[in-house]
């Protein structure tokens, strides 16, 4: 057991070194969310109580988290091409630590990105409720571990056909985002769209984030968001570990 922990810490701290050295690299995954924030926010209608930004920002935070974590497999693709992945496979590090250590590292860029967004929007009509934000971030941490694992799994199964990684990632990400009601509310949506949205775990996560970022604590919504993130994490890690065990 202790070797698994040591191995995982080793893998995670290796993965974090480039992040500490070049913290600006976390901005890469933020380009699209920040464009959405800049160009969408001014179009938002006035809402009767609270600001539209208060409704919009949690979605942007979740989008950034999804973007960053789903891009992360590309780094593994590079390591598979250059040879360092192969070297790690021959080292005594366990296969599961190679996946879990990488997936856990995703929490760090997510925290940095969320902090940047909050710093940017707080001077405008956005109220910062720190306690809610902290719980919201904990849910997002689980979510990014799950999505990161799936991204690594995708990179592993795309070995030798690198185009596959970006094709699948780009194909899935926008339906996933839009069906979560991240940019527009899905309240008047047709039944089929509503149904697809109900199946999307991100829907529950975004709803929980909206409540928490507004400083409200509706227990059902928050727990649903937490459960959805935990399911994504469990699914992602188990798929990812399996893919890593098959890697050669």
């Amino acid at each position: 057991m202790s070797t698994i922990v040591t191995d995982t810490v080793n893998v995670m701290s290796r993965e974090l070194k480039p992040v500490w050295r070049e913290p600006a690299s976390v901005l890469f995954a933020m380009v699209q969310p920040l464009v959405f924030l800049g160009l969408f926010a001014p179009l938002l209608p006035e809402v009767p109580h609270g600001s539209a930004l208060q409704w919009f920002v949690p979605g942007i935070v979740a989008m950034t988290c999804l973007m960053g974590a789903s891009f992360t497999g590309a780094a593994l693709t590079d390591e598979m091409l250059t040879g360092s992945h192969e070297r790690l496979l021959v080292s005594p590090l366990s296969r599961s630590s190679l996946l879990v250590g990488r997936a856990l590292k995703e929490v760090v860029p997510m925290l940095m990105q969320t902090a940047i967004i909050l710093v940017v929007v707080t001077p405008f009509s956005f109220d910062l409720h720190l306690d809610g934000v902290l719980v919201g971030v904990a849910i997002l941490a689980l979510f990014s571990v799950g999505i990161g694992s799936l991204s690594f799994a995708l990179a592993l199964v795309s070995a030798g056909q690198e185009w596959l990684f970006w094709t699948v990632q780009q194909t899935l990400i926008f339906p996933f985002l839009l069906l979560a009601g991240m940019l527009l509310p899905l309240e008047g949506a047709p039944g089929w769209l509503q149904f697809a949205s109900d199946l999307n775990p991100l829907t529950y996560i975004v709803e929980a984030e909206r409540a928490l970022f507004a400083g409200t604590w509706p227990a059902g919504t928050v727990l649903a968001g937490l459960a959805a993130a935990a399911i994504v994490a469990a699914l992602g890690v188990s798929v990812g570990v399996r893919a890593m065990q098959r890697s050669s």
């Binding site: 080793n10 021959v90 070995a159 050669s248």
Partner: protein, 347 residues
């Protein structure tokens, strides 16, 4: 500093076999390999691309399981004792072991930690290797900014962090210029002398196998076709003497005289004004032959004397030149080395 003093076999394979299927075709990359390599040997697997060298190495380093047969490394089975095998071996693959986004020194420390060294020991060991492999100036730079030769030295350092009992090097000098290749060979030789590690490398450079390895295992189409010291592999082949003349009729006379001078095992051939002789001891007899031909009125205009090479060994064993074969079978290479496109065949 000889660290590994155990004797006896450190690598044993029995009927080691590996098949790949690609586009519904089964490729027998390695076919029933039986090998014993003793502690402290420096062994080169020599063969053209696609011969099965890398596949063999990938099985011995636990990267891929055998289709059938078995292999043990440092006393542990490569399938049931993967973790123990990985602890005992160092592996320098065809790519770069150090991640391109990392700093060289960080990667050495992290590799040391992966092998169970304490933080302080891992740092100390990294510093030793940085000095030994002449990486002081570049160890704290991002790996992607290093030159090919520097990166290769770093790869070797990565493989040596834990003073492995067995070090595997997969085509260590491919892509290096001659100067860097010579340096690398010097480092491998020194390492072998200093640590007593068993070293197994693959190469398609004849000169490399010749210069470096005490034992050369020639592989072709997944089979071992020769296994001996380079000197003994070459000893039966004789030297190659090439004589050029001004006129073809001179060459005809010279060919007759040469054939009479050497025994029946010699091989004499004429092509226009050029005569080639392959015979044991031909180098020693060549001066005499030149004076003899001059006095017979058929003076030699140009002479070349060559000792046999491993290429000649390969030609003699397979009827094909190693250099030509390397070019011909390039497509098969992708089948061997890129198993991502292939599926495993169950044993």
């Amino acid at each position: 500093m000889t660290i590994h003093t155990q004797t006896g076999p450190v690598i044993v394979t029995r009927g080691l076999t590996r098949h790949f299927t690609a586009r519904k075709q089964t490729v027998e990359a390695v076919r029933g390999l039986d090998l014993e390599i003793r502690q402290g040997e420096l062994v080169a697997f020599l063969g053209p691309n696609g011969a099965g060298k890398s596949t063999t190495l990938r099985m011995l380093t636990t990267l891929i399981p055998p289709t059938s047969g078995s292999a043990s490394v440092a006393g542990h089975d490569v399938v049931t004792g993967q973790r123990e095998v990985r602890r005992a071996i160092g592996y320098v693959g065809q790519g770069n072991g150090a991640g391109h986004q990392q700093l060289g020194r960080d990667e050495l420390v992290s590799q040391g930690r992966a092998h169970g060294l304490s933080r302080a020991d891992a740092r100390r060991r990294a510093q030793e290797l940085v000095e030994e492999l002449d990486l002081v100036a570049v160890a704290d730079r991002k790996v992607s900014t290093l030159s090919g030769g520097q990166r290769r030295r770093l790869d070797i350092a990565m493989g040596l962090v834990h003073l492995p009992r067995v070090l595997f090097l997969d085509e260590p000098s491919t892509g290096l210029d001659p100067q860097n290749r010579a340096n690398l060979q010097e480092q491998v030789r020194r390492l072998h002398e200093e640590t007593g590690s068993t070293i197994v490398l693959t190469t398609h450079y004849l000169e490399e196998a010749d210069a470096l390895a005490g034992r050369v295992i020639v592989v072709d189409h997944g089979l071992v076709i020769a296994d001996d010291t380079a000197a003994r592999l070459k000893s039966g082949l004789g030297d190659l003497v090439t004589l050029a003349f001004d006129r073809a009729d001179h060459a005809v006379v010279a060919a007759e005289r040469a054939a009479a001078r050497f025994d029946h095992t010699a091989y004499v051939d004429r092509d226009g004004e050029v005569v080639t002789v392959r015979a044991t001891g031909a180098s020693e007899l060549a001066p005499e032959l030149v004076t003899d031909l001059a006095s017979a009125g058929t003076p030699v205009r140009r002479i070349e004397v060559a000792r046999p090479t491993l290429d000649d060994v390969f030609l003699n064993l397979t009827g094909r030149s190693l250099r030509e074969t390397a070019g011909e079978t390039a497509p098969a290479d992708s089948t061997e080395e890129n198993d991502s496109e292939t599926e495993e065949v169950a044993a």
